[in-house]
């Protein structure tokens, strides 16, 4: 079961919301529920990132002021950070700040976190976007092709090769893939550059490293779904109508397979985003992932807060987009959610 399904089931259970929305059409009702769950998740994200600074050992004010700071300096910083206020007030201030896109300033570089996000995010977006493009363009056709070739137990050899290959590559952590790729293509063959963002080819290796694992796992899912769809009665019906093979594949198979791919698309994207954190550090790619690790080293709490919140919001938005897209592609989702 997917996250979206579970969320739907939950929404269906909550009585007040159902009563409120029962007079609306399926689409407004669906969108309203999505908006409500989006709101809840965002609130939780805010609370979690806010608590980070309070759960952490040590005094943030000391971190900011420096170890050899005087008591007055520390007290000054505590006031500046608002840590002398009661927790609820602090939380409200935090939320107000976030609403103004003000996430505070770095303890170390004194740079504002918003500025850091503006500087760093394009790089991460470039990497994750290219990765996602690779994932979608490789894993869906690959999964469908292998699924079609191995249907009904045909081509056992191909099936075993595919399974071994995908299970091996999905067991390889990103930093290993990155290391191996860098060794082969940058060190041994000297085809591609690493450790730079100046050349346009520099993104190739990081993007492949970040997408290999999602490609493998998504291709497996797509293959399974292809097998599943090909075994359906309606494919036999389509064959009984003597439609050309390409029509059967594009019209009868693809939409159903894409729906399945889309359903786990949110999770795949989350995994991809996690991968960029690691890969950015291997290839010295100046994105958010590299910055957040630096921040953890220095216990630079505002930066950690800001970046984690930012990533969280992206993941939540993508998941909501996937849910809506799914409802557009497969109208049954709307009916099911009632």
């Amino acid at each position: 079961m997917t996250s979206s399904q579970a969320l739907q089931r939950h929404s269906a259970d909550s009585g007040t919301l159902a009563r409120l929305t029962s007079r609306l059409g399926p689409w407004p009702r669906f969108l309203l529920k999505r908006a409500a769950s989006l709101f809840v998740v965002l609130a939780m994200l805010l609370a979690l990132t806010f608590l980070l600074i309070h759960l952490a050992p040590g005094d943030p004010a000391v971190r900011k002021a420096g170890i050899d700071a005087s008591a007055e300096q520390i007290e000054f910083e505590r006031k500046a950070l608002g840590l002398d206020q009661p927790l609820p007030i602090q939380f409200i201030r935090y939320v107000q700040g976030v609403a103004r896109l003000d996430f505070g300033t770095s303890f170390i570089t004194k740079q504002s976190v918003t500025e850091i996000l503006q500087q760093r995010f394009p790089r991460t977006f470039q990497l994750a976007g290219t990765g996602l493009l690779i994932v979608m363009t490789v894993s869906v056709p690959l999964g469908i092709l292998v699924g079609a070739l191995t249907r009904e137990g045909r081509n056992r050899r191909l099936e075993v090769a595919f399974m071994s290959l995908t299970s091996t590559s999905s067991a390889l952590p990103e930093f290993l893939t990155a290391t191996f790729l860098a060794f082969i293509f940058a060190v041994t063959l000297n085809w591609l550059p690493v450790g730079t963002t100046q050349k346009s080819t520099a993104i190739i290796l990081p993007a492949i490293s970040v997408s290999l694992r999602p490609v493998a796992s998504l291709a497996r899912v797509v293959r399974l779904e292809t097998l599943n769809v090909l075994a359906q009665d309606y494919i036999r019906t389509a064959r009984s109508k003597r439609l050309p093979t390409y029509v059967i594949f594009t019209r009868h198979l693809l939409p159903n397979v894409l729906t399945a791919a889309l359903t786990i698309g949110g999770l795949v994207f989350a995994g991809l985003l996690g991968g960029t954190v690691i890969v950015e550090n291997v290839f010295a790619w100046p994105g958010l992932g590299q910055r957040v690790v630096d921040a953890v080293f220095n216990l630079d709490y505002p930066v950690i807060q800001g970046i984690v919140l930012y990533f969280g919001v992206i993941v939540v938005l993508i998941n909501t987009a996937v849910d809506i897209l799914l409802a557009l592609v497969d109208p049954r989702t709307l009916v099911l959610s009632e």
Binding site: A56, R151, S164, A171, F175, T179, V277, V282, V293
Partner: protein
């Protein structure tokens, strides 16, 4: 999870030795089982022996003069930036890396499973909140959560373990919740409860066995993922700190000097890769072993000859990867100066005799060469041998483990060669060597004691009774639309070949409605699929000819066939819900065939679709065409299905159980629609059903099938009057009527439908026939004319024995 309730039936009796249990056989039925044991052996040996054998100085002592060297005799994989041996450091990091991964996974498993199980038993609203929380946590990248947690608990090995443990627990909680909630609701648990089994017994007997497989596999996957995640954190510098190091941290050092000494990063990277593979293979093999539904499949693989098994794709592929792994492991010892067979033997003998008077080089190169290569070859040999016979398999498992362990200890022994601790080096080497020796002796003993020949599954041979019957079956119908001669569908299975459709001869006249009746498994649906050239893989269809409108479709090219059958033949299937594509509008599905075959489009096509919808009495057709199948009722779906079949005005409609999935009242509607189409458009219909009542209602002629053959071909009007095939007689008697005596039990046909891979020699119905006589067991009766319009395959009717006629 939809496991058959009969788990206890297939469970092995307690007294079976472990290696004879189906679990163990299934575990080793694919090379991954063997590889898992072998690699696990190596890992464990390294983890146990490396810290004992390697002293701290060897691993930590700097030697700046020999920094960043390539591979050499002294440093097999070269040295790092401080002149320390890369291989030794990689091996030394094994126990810590494994320990961290296992602790993190253990923590995630404990937290996750507990949370999941508790969630499953929470009251409704609370459970939804808990589930929602789990879902939200799942949506976030695990590594990001872990990084945030590390920021809270602090950067250290313990911090990394804690962070990964917490970050990974939601996915495990989800699995545990699904399992706990799923298993408790299953039918057989409910029936066990009704039977009055105690809760403890239910848990031990039904729940644990059913979720154990998933739990174990999930736990192993979690361990593999935790290894990756912990080393990712270490790699980022957020894990292991200070002078401690694990594989992840070694890679960090390596990546910085990737250009100078690639092995610095590649050695620990490979170690992680191998560990991940080991866990993956272990999970795969355990899943196979713990899943009772796979045990029988394993048995069928056994029935292949050893040659087939040896060259099977899995063996080749996995042996290949094993070779690669082992080659990497042993690569350093294939250096030219180590290859001196004479000295190797002498050294080996010296070690065996326990004389420790060896020079450092002797131990360094010779011992390693002899022992490691012996171990490697034995292990490889065993890997291949384990597919020769089942008897080997258990032995191979043990030997694989022993050799893995042995190889691991040899491996450590060579590291000590240049160390001062000569005693430990020799002890370790000796242990490994003895283990290898024991393995070899056991193997040889087993080879010589194994005299039993491989038994093969008997192959059923199918004799088509054809040729003669081709002429015989000519029914000279007035205007034949479909003529089928010798239609056979064959499946070549591992247990032998079966023919669920065997030598079918039939003719359909234009405008006829012919019924095909028989029990499930009689081959009637497969006959329909064979006529439509839609038999599923790996079925093989053969026929003398199948003529539709005089054209033999068995001789057509794929393109011709597509066009010809696309416009001449339509099929209607049993379940209209699953036979219509849920994601496409009815209109799209209706119009796609004429669009392709008749090149219709636009208004013409739309009008045609509306006409056909009217033919099957679907009102508001304009609106209906824009709807999806789920918006239709069951009967309406089937009528839409019929309308779809009519789009190209086919001359033949094959309807495969079109009414079976529907209510009785809806059934009548469908039958009426079919009759109307037949009368108004003259379409020939072949109606397949197991319900003789439906057939009698609409058909003019009926074909009775049994065990893949037609046993009777008779006019419906003659069905109640003339002498019939005993099977047809029994079928009719089994239909309850309103006036049947309710006190008498319902009539049923004694015995079971025949087993296709074990058909009797003579008539297939003989074992269940009440008129059976001696000849029936000897020969199969051919389908012969008893009248102009009546064919029967029964000796009783065609050539009755003396005493039977008297009766």
């Amino acid at each position: 999870m939809s496991r058959a309730p009969a788990y206890s039936d297939v469970q092995a009796p307690i007294y079976l030795a472990f290696w004879r249990t189906p679990f163990f056989r299934a575990f080793l039925s694919s090379p991954s089982g063997f590889l898992a044991l072998f690699l696990a052996g190596i890992l464990f040996a390294t983890a146990l022996l490396a810290p004992l054998a390697l002293t701290k100085e060897e691993v930590y002592q700097r030697n700046v003069r020999r920094r960043l060297e390539g591979p050499s005799a002294d440093h097999i994989l070269g040295t790092d930036n401080l002149g320390r041996d890369i291989l030794k450091r990689t091996l030394y990091a094994t126990p810590l890396s494994l320990q961290l991964a296992l602790s993190a996974a253990g923590m995630a498993i404990v937290i996750g499973f507990a949370a999941g199980a508790v969630t499953a038993y929470l009251p409704g609203r609370l459970r939804n909140v808990a589930l929602r929380l789990i879902e939200i946590m799942l949506a976030f990248p695990g590594i990001l959560i872990a990084i945030m947690l590390v920021a809270v608990v602090g950067t250290s090995a313990e911090g990394a373990v804690l962070a990964i443990g917490i970050a990974f627990s939601p996915s495990l909680a989800r699995v545990a919740y699904t399992l706990a909630a799923g298993v408790a609701g299953l039918d057989y648990i409910a029936s066990a409860r009704v039977l009055g089994l105690s809760s403890r017994r239910i848990v031990a007997r039904y729940i644990i066995p059913n979720i154990a497989e998933t739990l174990i596999v999930v736990s192993l996957n979690a361990t593999a993922a935790a290894l990756v995640a912990v080393s990712s954190l270490s790699f980022l510098g957020l894990g292991v700190q200070g002078t401690q190091f694990d594989w992840g941290r070694l890679i960090t050092e390596g990546v910085l000097r990737l250009y100078q000494v690639p092995l610095l990063a590649l050695a620990p990277a490979t170690a992680i890769g191998i560990t991940g593979l080991t866990l993956g293979y272990l999970g795969e093999a355990l899943a196979r072993g713990l899943n009772p539904t796979l045990w029988t499949q394993t048995a069928s693989v056994q029935s292949r000859s050893w040659l087939q098994r040896y060259f099977s794709s899995e063996t080749m592929l996995l042996s290949g990867s094993a070779l690669l792994l082992i080659a990497f492991y042993f690569l350093p010892w294939f250096s030219p100066d180590a290859l001196d067979p004479n000295r190797t033997l002498v050294t080996g003998a010296a070690i065996l005799a326990g004389r420790a008077n060896l020079t450092e080089t002797a131990i360094g190169s010779q011992v390693a060469l002899l022992l490691l290569r012996t171990g490697a070859w034995i292990a490889l040999l065993l890997g291949f041998l384990s597919y020769f016979s089942l008897r080997f398999r258990r032995l191979c498992a043990y030997l694989g483990l022993i050799c893995g362990f042995g190889a691991g200890s040899y491996f450590v022994s060579i590291l000590l060669a240049d160390s001062t601790n000569l005693g430990a080096a020799l002890a370790s080497a000796r242990l490994g060597f003895y283990l290898g020796l024991i393995a070899t002796i056991l193997l040889i003993a087993q080879v010589f004691s194994d005299k039993s020949a491989t038994t093969r599954g008997s192959h059923n041979v199918i004799h088509p009774t054809s040729q003669a019957s081709v002429v015989e079956a000519d029914m000279s119908l007035p205007r034949p639309l479909l003529q089928v001669r010798g239609l056979t569908v064959r499946f070549d299975l591992e247990s032998g070949a079966i023919a669920p459709v065997n030598d079918i001869n039939l003719d359909l006249a234009e405008g006829e409605i012919v019924g095909v009746v028989g029990e499930s498994g009689s081959g009637k649906s497969l006959t329909a699929l064979a006529l439509a050239q839609l038999v599923p893989h790996p079925g093989i269809v053969s026929a003398h000819y199948v003529r539709l409108r005089g054209e033999d479709i068995t001789r057509m090219s794929a393109g011709q066939l597509r066009y010809f059958l696309g416009s001449e033949m339509a099929m209607i299937f049993q379940d209209p819900m699953s036979s219509l594509n849920p994601a496409l509008k009815i209109g799209t599905q209706l119009t796609e065939a004429p669009r392709v075959h008749r090149r219709l489009s636009g208004k013409d096509l739309h009008r045609l679709a509306l006409d056909r919808m009217a033919d099957v009495h679907i009102s508001a057709a304009e609106r209906r065409l824009r709807q999806y199948p789920h918006e239709f009722s069951g009967g309406m779906r089937q009528r839409a299905m019929i309308a779809m079949g009519l789009m190209n005005s086919p001359s033949l409609i094959i309807a495969d159980e079109p009414t079976t999935a529907l209510d009785v009242t809806i059934q009548a509607q469908i039958i009426d629609v079919l009759r109307e189409i037949n009368q108004e458009q003259g379409t020939t219909i072949m109606l397949i059903s197991h319900d003789i009542g439906v057939i009698v209602e609409i058909c003019s002629r009926v074909l009775v099938m049994y065990a893949g053959r037609i046993v009777e071909d008779v006019k419906v009007t003659d069905l109640l009057t003339t002498d019939k095939h005993p099977y047809t007689e029994a079928l009719i008697a089994a239909v309850p009527a309103f006036d049947s005596n309710r006190d008498e039990p319902l009539a049923s046909i004694p015995g079971r439908p025949p087993d296709l891979d074990n058909l009797p020699a003579g008539c297939a119905f003989a074992p269940r026939c009440k008129y059976v006589f001696e000849r029936c067991h000897r020969e199969a009766p051919p389908l012969l004319h008893v009248e102009e319009t009546h064919r029967i395959a029964c000796f009783l009717r065609t050539e009755p024995p003396a005493e039977a006629t008297r009766e």
